[in-house]
């Protein structure tokens, strides 16, 4: 890390610590917003306490399981379907068009239907996450495959590549930048819609983060509400750093896209 970067980090850190301190002093010391805003120390106390008694870790586990499983299903359906759409016009003019339309639908709109179809079950949660992921994946894959420079395919075919070999070793890696864009968008949609679904519906087989948020409100536990919100933000950031940043760094290194 060079000195300019170091300086910027320091400024960010000071600003946020100051904000938290002011908040703490304002609520605890001066008694401002006493009933509507818990002080940071209370929020931390909640996070610490619920971590120790296991409610928070188990909620994170339940939510992440739904999210990752639904996301994986969405990718497994979306990428091959997108490829079919790019290859066969009959798919593009049917499934592709459907994807274009449904992608415009905020994925939280699937929640009522999911409950009517699946009841208050894990399947309903999964369904919402899959719907959040799959349409963006189809569109991104289809777009990526269609925009592969034709010269890659010509070069590959002169070297004897054809059929499945071309799909796996040329088309898939060549469209990866676009697919990664779709994965990021699909992830964002899935994460948001799952939170909405969990707040909206109580699933008895497992309490997720959304449900903790919901019950925090029911019980007027402001520190719980804000504590869970912090965890949700944290998970979003971590996934971005753990899952997507390495893939993007890899792309930059290999392809030389957007140097910074």
């Amino acid at each position: 890390m060079n000195s300019a970067n170091y300086k910027r980090w320091t400024i960010s850190a000071i600003a946020f610590i100051a904000l938290i301190l002011i908040w703490e002093v304002a609520v605890k010391g001066l008694g401002l917003f006493e009933y509507i805003l818990p002080p940071p120390s209370e929020v931390l106390k909640y996070i610490w306490g619920s971590t120790l008694d296991g409610t928070l870790p188990s909620a994170i586990l339940v939510t992440m399981k739904r999210l990752l499983l639904g996301y994986a299903i969405g990718l497994c359906i979306g990428i091959p379907t997108g490829m079919l759409c790019s290859r066969f016009n009959i798919f593009q003019d049917t499934v592709g068009l459907l994807a274009l339309g449904l992608q415009a639908l905020p994925s939280v709109c699937w929640v009522p239907l999911a409950i009517m179809w699946f009841g208050q079950t894990e399947s309903a949660m999964l369904f919402v996450v899959v719907m959040g992921t799959v349409w963006s994946m189809i569109l991104a894959t289809e777009h990526g495959v269609r925009n592969i420079p034709p010269i890659y395919l010509r070069a590959a075919s002169t070297m004897g590549s054809k059929g499945m070999h071309t799909w796996i070793h040329v088309i898939l890696p060549a469209s990866f930048p676009s697919i990664l864009g779709g994965m990021k968008q699909g992830w964002a949609f899935a994460w948001r819609s799952l939170m909405a679904a969990e707040i909206y519906v109580t699933i008895l087989t497992g309490f997720g983060l959304g449900q903790l948020l919901h019950y925090g409100r029911e019980l007027m536990e402001m520190n719980q509400v804000i504590g869970v919100m912090c965890i949700v933000i944290l998970i979003g950031l971590i996934v971005d750093k753990v899952l997507f940043s390495p893939l993007e760094a890899h792309l930059r290194k290999k392809w030389g896209i957007s140097k910074d």
């Binding site: 070069a155 002169t158 070297m159 004897g160 070999h165 392809w255 030389g256």
Partner: protein
């Protein structure tokens, strides 16, 4: 098959017989190639020159098997071309290297598709060709880290690696700066002498054609056809700046002007 056998020089003769090709365009049918007849001997270096639209690249694609002629046939060692094949490798104007693979794996790509070789043998062959183009040190580099000239060297290594009998080059040096190009003329001639491929090289640069070719085939456009052939009996290695090239080049240029001029008058 051993690496030694794999690295043997192989070459092929090629014949193009009465080939015609038309394309549909917005302006109607375009006769890209009309009555093309051409024989290329084993290990010969032939350059196809002509202005754009004369069908020289179309002919190259037909020989590569990337496209099919409307009529006529193309034979490689008396066997008709029906599609792309490992015996005929193509180098394009853009390098067409795969950015998701490093240099070494780009060279390895075609070899992996070649049966009867073990993986260590394939790697050894890839190393051999990377060494041939002088890029051993860049095996692990990403494509975007290389200069234009280095990319075309990798593309050359990739095309040579499956040991084709015929190498088809489509304005391969067209996008490079003049200095790099001059350097590659020398390298290509040296490699051709070592590897003894039959090479068909498409260009619109007449001096380049004279520098590289044993024979220069002149095309004229609308319809694309062969108008004249020139033998270039100069000794190798030739330098692009050698004054001896000039008389050949100006003869071809004059012939080209005459053919285009005569047609414009006729029209």
């Amino acid at each position: 098959m051993s690496v030694h056998a794999e690295l043997q020089n192989v070459t092929a003769k090629l014949s193009v017989k009465n080939v015609n090709k038309t394309f549909d365009s917005a302006q109607g049918k375009v006769e890209a190639l009309k009555d093309i007849n051409l024989r290329v001997e084993e290990g010969e270096f032939v350059c196809l020159v002509g202005p754009s639209g004369c069908g020289k690249s179309t002919l190259l694609n037909l020989i590569a098997g990337l496209d099919k002629p409307d009529s006529g046939e193309i034979l490689v060692d008396d066997i008709p071309v029906t599609g792309p094949g490992r015996d005929r490798m193509v180098m394009f104007q853009e390098h067409a290297l795969f950015p998701w693979l490093d240099v070494f794996n780009n060279v390895l790509f075609g070899l992996k598709l070649k049966p009867n070789l073990t993986d260590p043998e394939r790697k050894e062959v890839a190393k051999f060709y990377l060494h041939l183009v002088g890029l051993d040190k860049f095996a692990k580099a990403s494509i975007h880290e290389l200069s234009g000239g280095m990319r075309q060297r990798v593309a050359l290594a990739r095309s040579l690696a499956p040991n084709p009998r015929v190498l088809l080059m489509d304005e391969t040096f067209g996008a490079l700066d003049a200095l790099t190009r001059e350097q590659l003329y020398g390298e290509l001639q040296q490699i051709w002498q070592k590897r003894k491929k039959t090479i068909i090289f498409v260009t619109h640069n007449i001096r380049e054609a004279v520098c590289l070719g044993d024979r220069v085939i002149l095309f004229s456009p609308h319809p694309g056809r062969i108008v004249q052939e020139f033998d270039i009996p100069l000794p190798r290695l030739r330098d692009i700046n050698d004054p001896a090239l000039t008389s050949h080049a100006s003869m071809i240029t004059a012939a080209l002007k005459q053919h285009i001029g005569a047609k414009e008058i006729a029209e």
